[in-house]
Symmetry: T
Subunit: 73 residues, 12 copies
């Protein structure tokens, strides 16, 4: 691929959830989508949320992402 060639991308909205932190939640969702959808080009964070445990600790991060991949002919 090079700039200047006509082409099409698709964006899909996914939510990565991880108790291991923000970047882990993003990476887990990206890796999963990369494998099941198609080879991803980029991601965009839409929202950052999370669940709080009974002890007041962050039990998990939930990161809403858009991921994009090129649609091949």
């Amino acid at each position: 691929m090079s700039y200047g060639d006509d082409r099409i991308y698709k964006k899909v909205e996914i939510i990565g959830v991880s108790k291991r932190g923000l970047e882990a939640a993003i990476q887990a969702a990206v890796a999963k989508a990369h494998k099941s959808l198609d080879k991803l080009s980029w991601f965009e964070v839409q929202d950052i949320r999370g669940h709080v445990g009974d002890d007041g600790m962050i039990a998990e991060y939930q990161v809403v992402l858009k991921v994009a991949f090129q649609i091949k002919e």
Copy 2:
């Protein structure tokens, strides 16, 4: 599923249309997506619109939704 396990959700944007009212339009779209996509976890209303008949009555409600479901391994 329980909070704290790493997991991934996907969100899809659909539009439910019904002449039977707002909730009917949401339910119809949710039921359809539940059957054809995957077992849904939740929905989010994005926009509420509708078509008006020649008699000035609301001919149908059009509700733009995002529906979310867990992507299983």
Copy 3:
């Protein structure tokens, strides 16, 4: 299809890229989605961006679109 019948649409987000201008970028993405997804009903422009070449000329337009099509039974 006629107004008043209950039905469902799906919206998908795509990005059309073309060096031939804004409308060419939209048309290319619409035509591609029409063929690979389903017969489209309408599109909505979300964002207009582009890449600039080393000579300061617009090397390509990148138009982010939502395209919608009816989900048949």
Copy 4:
């Protein structure tokens, strides 16, 4: 009217108020605008609000809408 003919629509912002519920507030505003402005084609809900009575019951729904109609030659 058929798709493909050049034409113009106008959108007007109105607020329907009714104690009989959300859909009643929308229908009342649509019917009124249909009669006094012009034959409406569609509506879009902008905001949903309401007044609360002294007894804690919803005294009325106030729905902000845009309604659209074709401008004839």
Copy 5:
């Protein structure tokens, strides 16, 4: 109270949840806030969401609201 007198209101964000529909979710939250916070003047709907049951039926509506009440001296 009459228009023209200096006064202060406070807005609080609450979420009403009900399986009985949109208006029931709004009314339940308004009634609860009316009793525990203060006599409410109005509400504004911020977001409409919901949970989907295993059978594809809407298990509950979740309506995010802002409710407003006057702060008395």
Copy 6:
């Protein structure tokens, strides 16, 4: 008019321009709309802008407003 009666309002977007300040720009637009449209109920400020003179002084304030009035039968 009292809360609880079904009724309809219309909102119109206007821009008040005045060199005498923000409030003067709002008041001038409100007074003008009140006279030419109908007896206004309320206004909402949408945007505040202005023109700068050659001397770096604010030459005029331009306030974009929505004004609302009840549509009588």
Copy 7:
């Protein structure tokens, strides 16, 4: 008219539809509003949408605009 004089503008929301492209849709709506409303000063594009034909070609562009004109005494 010159900067610095108090004055009022009104903004109206219209939708221009044309199969001949984006600029044609804007120009058609502007020309029509210019004739039927009042001599326009400027326009602002709010949204760009369109209808897709059965052949996957853009059947028409629909451009949502705000147009503004000065209200004379």
Copy 8:
């Protein structure tokens, strides 16, 4: 307090109403919240609205604010 120390603030949404103008409406709400909530650090204007009297004069300004204060241990 100094930058660099871990600490927590809370933001509360209030509406100041005054017939004496924009700044009076802000100041009244800030003073009231300062006394009844806690010693405020800053405010952010969210919306500016107002009521119009029968004579077309602005009867009162209504300014929606967020006010913030530090939560002490």
Copy 9:
């Protein structure tokens, strides 16, 4: 608590500040609110900001959050 029971949540806006990073700022605010308000269910990140020291290093992260908890009878 289980899905399907009518219930009410409240959301409160807080700002967590920490020099130890983004997640520390979120966790500190969540822990504090959990203790002083009520047992939290979830949080939503609204804004990420920070203060820069004289040496160009990030002196502290300031994360604006909404935190939510169930209102018990």
Copy 10:
């Protein structure tokens, strides 16, 4: 300069701070930018905030603005 000639403007984001009120904060920032950047054409208010003193009085207004000026050849 006259309408219809091709030309370029630049917008810069600045924050005017003044204890003397909203308009003073805007004017101070505009005058400063007019002198140090270039002869400004217009400004747009983005946000209005302020600092509150220990006595609950508004200690200063902080107005976030965009200012625009023509880039000459």
Copy 11:
């Protein structure tokens, strides 16, 4: 430059004005910024507006853009 290397970009907001159409307005602004600021990498359209002549024809397009370029060491 290649993906994976730490680097910094700057975005600047400009407005391209041209009577020759949307793309001409974008291209003119991009070319100008490319020459006077730095070698641009990409642009993002923020707003499309325009001036209307006395004859109801679009006298010029005004396109608000953000342009981005890499800051070199």
Copy 12:
């Protein structure tokens, strides 16, 4: 500097890119701007994006920031 003195800040939009994570991307951009523009006071995160490598790993984080610094006389 102390609160209450009239002063002016400027905000500039930059994008920090780093493969070492979110905070590294923010810190790199802040440090760079601090050196080349002026001594920064604060930053605001606008957007978080990133590039995905062929192996499905996040190849780099791209954080869009606004950074602010005081304009001295």
